[in-house]
Symmetry: C2
Subunit: 305 residues, 2 copies
């Protein structure tokens, strides 16, 4: 096998009360990638989408992880990568992570599965460093492991894989720009201990709810008293969408990654579609363009076609 | 049935990274109580131990919850309570909670189990208010539910019951006084966001480990970067005991409640006994009196005899 096609899914980092540690893999949208083994330690990257992403492998979120893979193996081989990005950069849906995760999973298949999923995450984090300057794992880990992942610790990397109960996810990506660096800069460096205690009560409840399949507990725990109150002001329509979606019966939801996309979790498809209609109405009224997705949690992660 | 005997167990609050939200029930030590139904809305409290605890029900941790129970029922009855405290007040092992939890479980049996466990916790919290001025639930909840409990939220009360895998618990109670009020006062009101993130990664890992029965994950997650570094300075021998117990193979451990008792969790009894010997050696060398217990997690809670 010298060539492989792969679908690399969108991911939702933070999951409301799990800032910097939780992430979730979606069935839609997906980047599509084709990766070919070539002779000679060389990496070339083409894109078939309209995004002007750097083709220099060192500056590309798919290229940097492959450079790291080539450093660890003796074989005189390289990779030719063709990417069609369907996950828009800057959407808050793990666009850079999809390139990084997809390419390492594809490369690993072509190399006869030499690496563990943990090692693949380590490689993919080099792509995140290219994208944001920081080697974080809360998007690449769910992209590679599927389901929900907890990054208990980043150095040394400790990933806990959590298989959630079936959940519908409604996503809206309003076409505005929220820079990750801005979204991070507006956060306070110190938080009140009493707020931190609330937050760790909630993340503990969320994890227990996900592992036990307790939907009510998941819903009660989807509360963020630290990050959301600050970041949500960057996202027009946030409060209205959240309030109306809760009234429509979603379990809960919030900002995807650092935004601007928002997501809501539901137990059934009817509620998930109702949430989508609310999101459409709000952004239609605000006169903002948007994309919506009604999807489910993807427990497989990147999928070789 | 007009009279009942009950064993009310010691509890460990906080569980390292779960400050103010996690608690765990032990098999040893236990308070012993006898509760009798009497005619007339009256409460009398006797103690058969040497502790000079107030006998006025309003000022007694067992009396205050019974007053609340009598307020909610129409029956012309009261309670006569006889307590033998084996859990020393001020030990950090939930002594006040044992009186409060034991008496409400006993009263509920005598009343034909009218109340849910959640309601019993609400009653018992009045006892904690008498003891410390604050209606907290992280000792009374595990005393009533057994196992490990998560207080996701205190108002409104949301208790998540977690059944852990079999675990041995080694406890040492050095005979020094650490006032809960002092232990609380030395905590900073603000914490670094990066430390809070580490802490919620750890509590999420601990809860996942407990629910999944993943001992290694439990061990890796038993880390507290916020409370322990401050409070442990009040407890002589803390660092030595923790370091040596880890070397002896315990999964982890820390301060029980606000101290001065320390606890260590182990997968097997041999390790738990090794931890006990380390604790004894350290306090013998320091010339401090102590009590030790090697016990297991009690999944039943208060037990009617």
């Amino acid at each position: 096998m010298n060539s492989i096609k792969i679908k690399s899914p969108a991911t939702v980092a933070n999951l409301v009360c799990g800032f910097d540690v939780l992430g979730m893999c979606l069935h839609e949208p997906n980047d599509e990638m084709e990766v070919k083994l070539i002779t000679g330690k060389k990496i070339t990257i083409h894109s078939t989408d309209g995004y002007a992403l750097p083709s220099d492998p060192q500056l590309n979120t798919a290229g940097a992880p492959l450079i790291e893979i080539l450093k660890t193996i003796d074989d005189d081989i390289g990779f030719e990568v063709c990417i069609k990005k369907n996950i828009k950069p800057g959407s808050g849906l793990g666009s850079s992570a999809a390139s990084a995760a997809g390419v390492v999973v594809a490369a690993n298949h072509l190399l006869g599965n030499r690496f563990t999923k943990n090692e693949l995450v380590q490689f993919a984090m080099f792509g995140e460093k290219v994208a944001s300057g920081v080697k974080h794992a809360d998007n690449v880990a769910p992209g590679i492991f599927g389901g929900v992942t907890l990054i208990r610790c980043i150095f040394p990397l400790d990933i806990v894989s959590i298989t959630p109960p079936p959940l519908f996810v409604t996503v809206v990506h309003p076409q505005i720009e929220v820079k990750t660096s801005d979204a991070r800069q507006i956060l306070r460096k110190e938080v009140l201990l009493k707020d931190a205690i609330k937050q760790w009560g909630n993340i503990a409840g969320l994890v227990a709810g996900l592992v036990k399949g307790d939907y009510d507990l998941i819903g009660r725990s989807l509360e963020d008293v630290i990050i959301e109150p600050v970041r949500s002001i960057l996202i027009p329509g946030f409060d209205t969408i959240k309030k109306q979606c809760k009234e429509a019966g979603v379990l809960g939801g919030g900002i995807s990654g650092s935004g601007p996309s928002l997501f809501m979790l539901s137990k059934d498809k009817v509620t998930a579609v109702a949430a989508e209609n609310i999101m459409k109405d709000v952004y239609n009224q605000l006169g903002l363009d948007y994309h919506t997705y009604v999807t489910t949690i993807n427990n497989e992660g990147c999928r070789v076609l």
